[in-house]
Symmetry: C2
Subunit: 242 residues, 2 copies
DNA sequence: ACCTTTGCAATGTGATCACAAATTAGCAGC
DNA sequence: GCTGCTAATTTGTGATCACATTGCAAAGGT
């Protein structure tokens, strides 16, 4: 089991490059969610985040509202916000949507991917493998995301990317939780197949590779593993970490 | 050409049924966007909406933030918010995503649609045809949306529906604009095919019907029509209607 | 020992205020 | 008549405050 509070890269907030506080808070939280630093079931309080990021509650409220509307967080009847827990049904839906959206995005990106881009992708894939080999979960999650997104981003930044990001934000906390339990060693990907398909401009092979990558990524969760995860996410850290 | 400010159903705000002001504002704006009462290019001001809905700017800010993150509105570099204008590229992307998401949703809904539900759908489809016959644009848009959503809603409320709604909110203002120009008479749909496929539990036929419905709905926009629409949406009502 | 109750702390919500940036309107100069 | 500058207005942003509700915990009673 792995602690989720490592490598928290404290918030220098930098100088404001014409970026609003609300936007900065949003990106901070988004990054933490996508890297799995927010565990499913954890409750997120307005003033808590405000204190953590050293800003006033106002911009935090707006950032949370955005994240909620993207499915990254959820509000309960009590109007409390928390990181959603995963269910089997939701997991299936997310996988189906990922396949649907990401095969489409990859297919649209294919014609615009040149040799340079392909080389960058191969380098990223190597870094993914390297992270797996070293057991560096944070680095793996980051590079894995970079690999996928730098494909999709090419052809369809306006409409498709926000949707895909939404799905990933719903996916990532659970992914991190699973990896923390079963380790990075059981991870399989189809990145090599996807890259070859991109090189040959083979639409069908690319779709197949992406679909396989999504489906097999965490596809083989056994019954007992689901039960374990259910037990963990049964509101454990409502009071929450720090 | 049709005025977009009719049937504005003024806001009694009702008694608060345990619903926050921010949520109420969000739903109000969402409904207006989905029924095409917000024309592409129109600028949306914080205090303007607040005054229109007779609430303070605070909840409006949060509602706008949600709508922006769903693609229904957009913020410019000036931090001004407006209804996005449509481009050819965006239109193609939206269609592709609609096909991808809605065929998936329909397929997932199919096993759970019983005779009662089917009867309700047939009634809705009849009302759609009736609205077209009478030239009632508002009623058409409302029933048309009800028809589609009451299919998708069945199997996949949690993950798929929010994504589909997001796409529709990006689609609707433009749809209304087009209908206002070319009229409701040229509208074609594949609702009957979809209903028959649902009745026979024919997956392939259903997917085909949904895809055709999306693609043919506005698929036949001619070059000159695009130019006309471009001219209209070239920031006309930045100062904005009322 | 267990349950209920009472009080306090924490949280979300909405309004108001202050401020900076940007847009607009008005006016002088060419 | 058109352009360029200045002042006033509008607008978004963020902080603070007040209030209602919820959650929690300590204390009291059975």
């Amino acid at each position: 089991m792995l602690d989720t509070a490592d490598d928290t890269t404290l918030h220098p907030r930098a100088d404001d490059g014409a970026i609003t506080v609300q936007e900065w808070v949003y990106r901070q939280l988004k990054e933490r969610i996508l890297t799995g630093q927010f565990v499913p079931g954890r409750s997120v309080t307005l003033r808590g985040i405000a204190a953590m990021l050293e800003v006033s509650p106002t911009p935090v409220r707006e950032a949370l509202r955005r994240l909620v509307s993207e499915g990254a967080l959820e509000v309960h009847g009590n109007r409390r916000v928390s990181v959603p827990t995963m269910t089997r049904r939701k997991f299936d839906d997310l996988c189906a949507v990922r396949v649907s959206l990401e095969t489409l995005a990859a297919e649209r990106a294919m014609p615009h991917i040149d040799a340079d881009h392909l080389a960058r992708l191969r380098r990223l894939d190597a870094e993914v493998d390297e992270a797996i080999e070293k057991g560096d979960v944070n680095r793996y999650l980051q590079r894995h995301r970079e690999f996928h997104f730098s494909i999709y981003q090419v052809g369809s930044a306006e409409v498709l990317m926000p949707l895909i990001e939404s799905v990933w934000m719903q996916f990532s906390p659970f992914l991190r939780l699973v990896i923390s339990h079963i380790g990075v060693d059981y991870i399989v990907d189809r990145h090599a197949d996807a890259l070859n398909a991109l090189e040959r401009q083979d639409h069908a092979a690319l779709r197949f590779a992406i679909e396989a990558d999504v489906r097999e990524g965490l596809g083989s969760l056994t019954e007992s593993e689901w039960r374990d995860l259910d037990a963990v996410t049964r509101q454990p850290g409502q009071g929450a970490s720090r």
